[in-house]
Symmetry: C2
Subunit: 438 residues, 2 copies
């Protein structure tokens, strides 16, 4: 079964080949960013193998492209780039996951081309750069972004994953005739495909030979709160208010984990500081992932000296893997956890069953949970905020906000159930439309 989804399967049935097979699986996993499968039979666990291999690090470098072929592709790319009047760069998740960020950053910085990210590409790019333009996701794009990207005569698309949520429900309007796709396994220029040409080498040479380009600037994203929100007399937290506000509170080097759903859609409207690591997997829509991911990220952050790991999840998603908070307490980790309490599966409501009970979840006393999970009084700080004022006060609270606070912080963020981030609404509308059509 596993072989169907694994790029290497190592069955350790013979101690003489076990070490080679393990090394091979690790190497393939790293180079291809795909799952591998290692079968470790119990009667093999205590066998001795030669330890010599451990003295030599694994070769984890990508095999270089065939030079002539790579040069050919570079020339083609440059031809279109030089001919373009208003090109843009669009960075997506595979630029991160297939390790092409160094080359991508060089291109963005040296070229000055207006650069956008997809939702899953958030965190790939320094959002404080002057040529950073915001999130592009068709109908779910940031203000002004859709117009700029879709009117470009060339889109340099790096590491695209055109999944449902990542494209706001397949609402891209970019012609393949105006696109160059850079992938780990191929480059595609308009309809010409160059299989086996990895993006890294091509991007590197394109940057070296960049030359003179035509640049037409793009929109400037910010974390300003929309005027209507500022003047509204309503004290309750709104999605439109919260996410830009969050952008003002985030700090350089933060790790931000967002669950598929309200949390991830929300951060489309949050402009990150520099060097934020963003983690999400909206591609798979596996809700529950983010809380476990936060435990892993917080553990890694502790080892690496990164100060703040911040989780945003919804109540419905949180209930699936809530016990990872227990693991965080056991490991004495200090992430900041926001559970968005909005009474259930918001995106599902927007797609089907606005007030149906299958979109409700059991009402938990979330703040009580860390203590049921064994935290001693004072070991965990808990908060409940349901007004804008309370959020503002929370963000100003030094103990809460400081990266030096060695306590897990757990926030119930109460937002009305019938509100949702703009991007969520447009994605759900698109899904509902597709459902109605069939």
């Amino acid at each position: 079964m596993s072989s169907q989804i694994s790029c290497a399967v190592s069955m350790l049935n013979d101690p003489h080949e076990a070490a080679v097979l393990i090394d091979n699986a690790i190497r393939e996993c790293y180079l291809k960013s795909r799952p591998v499968y290692i079968s470790l039979p119990t009667d093999m666990v205590q066998k001795k193998v030669d330890g010599d291999r451990l003295n030599k690090p694994l070769d984890l470098s990508f095999p270089p492209n065939e030079p002539e072929k790579e040069d050919y592709v570079v020339e083609v790319v440059l031809k279109y780039l030089h001919a373009a009047r208003n090109p843009v760069i669009l960075v997506d998740a595979c630029a991160i996951r297939h390790r092409a960020l160094e080359e991508t950053h060089a291109l963005i910085e040296k070229s000055g081309i207006p650069t956008f990210v997809t939702p899953m590409g958030k965190g790939a790019v320094n959002e404080t750069l002057s040529n950073y333009g915001g999130v592009y996701a068709g109908d779910g794009s940031n203000a002004g972004v859709r117009e700029r990207v879709e009117s470009a005569d060339l889109v340099l698309s790096i590491g695209a994953i055109k999944s449902d949520f990542n494209t706001a429900g397949f609402t891209y309007r970019i012609s393949q005739l105006n696109t160059i796709d850079f992938h780990s396994y191929a480059v595609k220029v308009r309809y010409s495909e160059y299989p086996g040409v990895r993006m890294n080498g091509v991007l590197k040479k394109v940057v070296q030979k960049l030359g003179q380009l035509n640049i037409e600037s793009g929109p400037k994203p910010n974390n300003e709160i929309p005027e209507a929100e500022l003047t509204s007399p309503e004290p309750t937290i709104t999605q439109a208010w919260f996410w830009p506000c969050l952008g003002q509170w985030l700090q350089k080097d933060d790790i931000v984990i967002t669950e598929t759903g309200t949390a991830n859609f929300g951060t489309w409207e949050t402009r990150f500081p520099a060097d934020v690591t963003a983690i999400s997997q909206v591609l798979w829509g596996s809700i529950g992932y983010a809380t476990g991911s936060c435990q892993g990220a917080a553990l890694a952050a502790k080892e690496k000296g990164i100060k703040r790991t911040i989780l945003f999840t919804g109540d419905g998603s949180f209930q699936l893997t809530a016990q990872e908070v227990s693991t965080m307490i056991r490991n004495k980790l200090n992430p900041i956890i926001f559970v968005i309490c909005n009474d259930g599966y918001t995106i599902e409501r927007y797609i089907h069953g606005w007030q149906d009970s299958y979109n409700d979840v059991q009402q938990w006393d979330y703040k009580a949970l860390p203590f049921a999970f064994g935290a001693k009084k004072g070991e965990v700080l808990t908060y409940r905020v349901s007004t804008k004022k309370e959020v503002e006060e929370l963000f100003l609270d030094k103990e809460f906000s400081s990266g030096e606070t060695q306590k897990l912080r757990f926030v119930e963020l109460v937002i009305p159930w019938d509100d949702a981030p703009k991007a969520l609404k447009s994605t759900a509308e698109s899904a509902a439309k597709r459902n109605a059509k069939v």
Copy 2:
């Protein structure tokens, strides 16, 4: 991937065949007691299909055996049965899961042959019958059972699953020369195989033609507490004391769910009242299963008017799927939940790492959990018992024990971490021995 483990795969790509494919998958699932896979594409969800099929119930009867072949097998079985001097019957899980209980009960009752169950066969047999002899599982058998079963000159083995835990670590000592195996897919008499002959028809005819048999009686299991436990001055709960004591408290028609590990091994020493439904899956060892299973069973019990659904799980297992308690509260179910608080993965300790931290779990305040999951005060009854006296008082507590109590009851059952049921110890010893050998 799914086709590798499915006995039917229905891809609903065409509305004209969708209904037939769904019916076929349901029928195969029922008849073969194996997984099936139905793929329901979103663009198929709202298609209309002819509803006529719904007027005719699915034919869920097993295809009959070929009569001549079946009669031949029946004669062979009867030949050995009549020649046997001290036969026994051994009932295992597949007698339940492949729906041969009616025929099995007829054989047990009409023949009077001493009858034993395997751990996963518990619940298949009325344990109050005079010819019921207890649990057989090699080294993990009830007192006197191993001697009786292994000295039998004929074992009628019905629905065997010879997995690790179900055989106390592969410690059966039954010769195939003394065995007749009845399965859903074949009958096997000594080494003669009869593929395609289902047990049900064969058992039915064997019962009809039973005739005169030689019967040598077996041990009589009971729920008497071992003498050493009765005279011990220690107030703490011991495993050797608890499980027979539980047998005195259980009632006819109870549903008893036991998690793989301490809980299931414990009930090997519990003699059930009549008509107990026992649920476990030690075959797979998927800890966490039992709590979810309890939620499903309690829901079914409510619909069927069965009064008591009782879960036994360990703290390590419980932590994996604890949120199912939230679902029980949401569905207003009233199971009785025992969480055995013994500080971690007991069977793993016995196999490897007696005091290693990877066998520990985070200490939860379990009793606080139902309320963190949203239960109102008074909606759930919680208890913590750590002495034999407290258990005795709990079992005498009418509100706790009554099937009429419409409240979920949640018990922390505190047992020292370094104690374990006898059967667990012998199973772990056998596993440790196998590990040491390789």
